[in-house]
Amino acid sequence: MNSVELHHVAEQEQLRQQQLNLRLFLCYSTPCLAAGADRVKVALAALLNELDEEQRPTLEIVSTGCMGPCSRGPLLRLARLDEPEEIYEKVTPEIACDIVRAALAAQTAVVEPLPTDFPFFVRQTLIALENNGRIDPEQIIHSIARGAYSSLGHVLHEMTPEQVCGEITRSGLRGRGGGGYPTGVKWELVRKAQAERKYVVANGDEGDPGAYMDRTIMESDPHRVLEGMAIAGYAVGAEQGYIYVRGEYPLAAARLAKAIKDAERRGLLGSRILDSSFNFRIDLRVGAGAFVCGEETALMTSIMGRRGQPVPRPPYPAQRGLWGFPTLINNVETVASVAPIMREGAEWVAGIGNEKSKGTKVFALCGEVVNSGLIEVQMGTSLRDIVFTIGGGLPDGGTFKAAQTGGPSGGCIPAEHLDTPVDYESLQALGSIMGSGGLIVMNETSCMPDVAKFFMEFCMDESCGKCVPCRVGTVEMLELLTRITDGSAMDQDLQTLEDLCLLVQETSLCGLGMTAPNPVLNTLHYFRAEYLAHIRDNRCPAGVCQLDQIPLLKLPEHAEQLAIFKEEH
């Protein structure tokens, strides 16, 4: 296939879609499936079968990827000829059939669609997620009709690798996986590296608990990721790419595998892509459940089939990565932002967002919030806007206590900082990080030392055990946090905890250890009173901790309590 043919195929498919009277987009992602989207589809298919010969060909059901407001699923989007789109929430088989019948008879349905000015949709800026919910991810033709691989064709025929890297640099794109390293600089480094072979890796090992942006992108729009990788391959001079998917995401892996096969069959991946001299193959690697593999050097050892343990940097992957060759490694969301930049130009993306953080960021908004789901907002949007306008505030009249960002490497942002713009620098200044984009809202029933303990337990469990500060430090920090939450901590334990945090932060080998103390330090900074209430007053303000133990040192003075304690145990 060449660019002209690609364009022709896209136009034909667009024409076919425009001629349809009614297109039904049914969200077929995991949350909506769990809410019953499969039953809705069966009912709709049966309804379509009942229609007469004339009507049937003018209708289409499309099982799409995620539409966003997952807590309102199953979602159904109605696209009628010459009429504005409508989105219905929480559809059941009966409601869905009713909606479609009404639409066919040009009447209004019994249930109301979501209002057109619904803040959840209006306040978002979709770039990486622009095709989510509008295509069937298993049909390459749907992606092509929405412009997939056209940026690749443009890049291959009209631009040099230097120009591609320059474009990415000018767009101000930064790593979306958490670090925020300028993507253009990384690409430039790999491009300039001299080697007989180079590799491109897309990091889809999204281990942060509470984050599922990469899963959704891979499941809902796999060709976007493949196209981005191919463009990256051309820009840095690589002919082989790997996409590493977390083992917990079998659906994402299956859809990517199908997408790779479909793209190869049409000559959009493989040898002489789109009639150019560029060859690029992509292989899928499925992880096996190890959080540390999200760290780039650990991920590379895992791709090579070994224990996913990190190695010291430098040398950076850009100098010596997979099998010793220069390797470009980018997060899936970063890769998914590449094609739109090439299509619209660097200036367009650079115009979105704020001064240092350009473009948009996808967040997985969940926890105690009315509209939980996947959102993509401009960099610099305030946290208040995200939680209260887009998220619709807290359910059941709950009070906002904190928003957790950055998973086990991040921290909790308290209510007094709700107006902070969400970008790399501002979050860092608050002692948290942007992270991969998990944003968990907590209400007053969350106990901060308990949350810190939760993350420390996570880090202890997931520490690979290679370096001592992380292997031993996380165990000790967890022990101290356990003491705080069970009531057996003393004042000096807090001091020890803080000292230990700084030590582990400074001396660990990789990101996991270096950032493991962040949730503790951050909650200690903003919620110190809560820690002190646990230690001094033996009281958990949120009412979560049992606090049924007493400090060991105090035991001799509390002989009676000791006796009771012994009897009970």
Partner: protein, 179 residues
């Protein structure tokens, strides 16, 4: 739930174990016995055998010409590979942040208490394995879990226990005890 009857035709010359080994051989051939493909091979082995015992690990190490310690090291490093056989039903409770904030810890505690097992282990009668996972990426359904691969969202501890009991035959035993 009806289980497929385990009909092993007597005419079949190969035992199920041999057939499974054949599948493993196929995976080994597909990756051309490359040592880098160890994780993919172990994935296949785990899928076909349900767990990785010493015999399988040895077999893989011989086929890929890797030291047994290397294969064992990789198999024990990743959470997906289990060296012990799993129960008839597997319940994976997500313990990601969103689920934890919404009370997944209580659900795990309740299951542990109700079925007398610890997370990560199997009941004595081999009917249930309880696993706590690090975020399954369905945070909008918090607290969520999977029961034999089926996603159950917005769970309560009572609802979960009821769902598990429906799957296992334990429910009859418990009702006898309480009556």
């Amino acid at each position: 739930m009806t289980k497929a009857p385990s009909n092993e035709p007597a005419t079949n010359e190969k035992s199920p174990h041999e057939l499974k080994l054949q599948l493993l051989d196929k995976a080994l051939k597909k990756c051309q016995y490359q040592q880098d493909a160890l994780i993919e091979v172990l994935h296949t082995a785990q899928e076909t055998f349900g767990h990785l015992d010493e015999e399988i690990l040895d077999y893989v190490s011989i086929q890929l010409k890797l030291p047994p310690s290397w294969v064992y090291g990789v198999a024990t490093f990743y959470n997906f590979f289990t060296l012990e056989p799993q129960g008839d039903h597997v319940c994976v409770v997500c313990m990601g942040t969103a689920c934890y904030v919404k009370g997944a810890g209580d659900i795990v505690a309740r299951i542990e208490q109700e079925f007398d097992l610890k997370a990560g282990t199997t009941t004595a009668d081999n009917s249930l394995t309880l696993v706590s996972a690090r975020c399954l990426g369905n945070c909008s359904l918090a607290p969520m879990l999977t029961l034999d691969g089926e996603v159950l969202g917005k769970q309560t501890s009572d609802g979960t226990v009821a769902a598990i009991k429906e799957k296992t035959c334990l429910s009859s035993v418990v009702s006898e005890e309480t009556s």
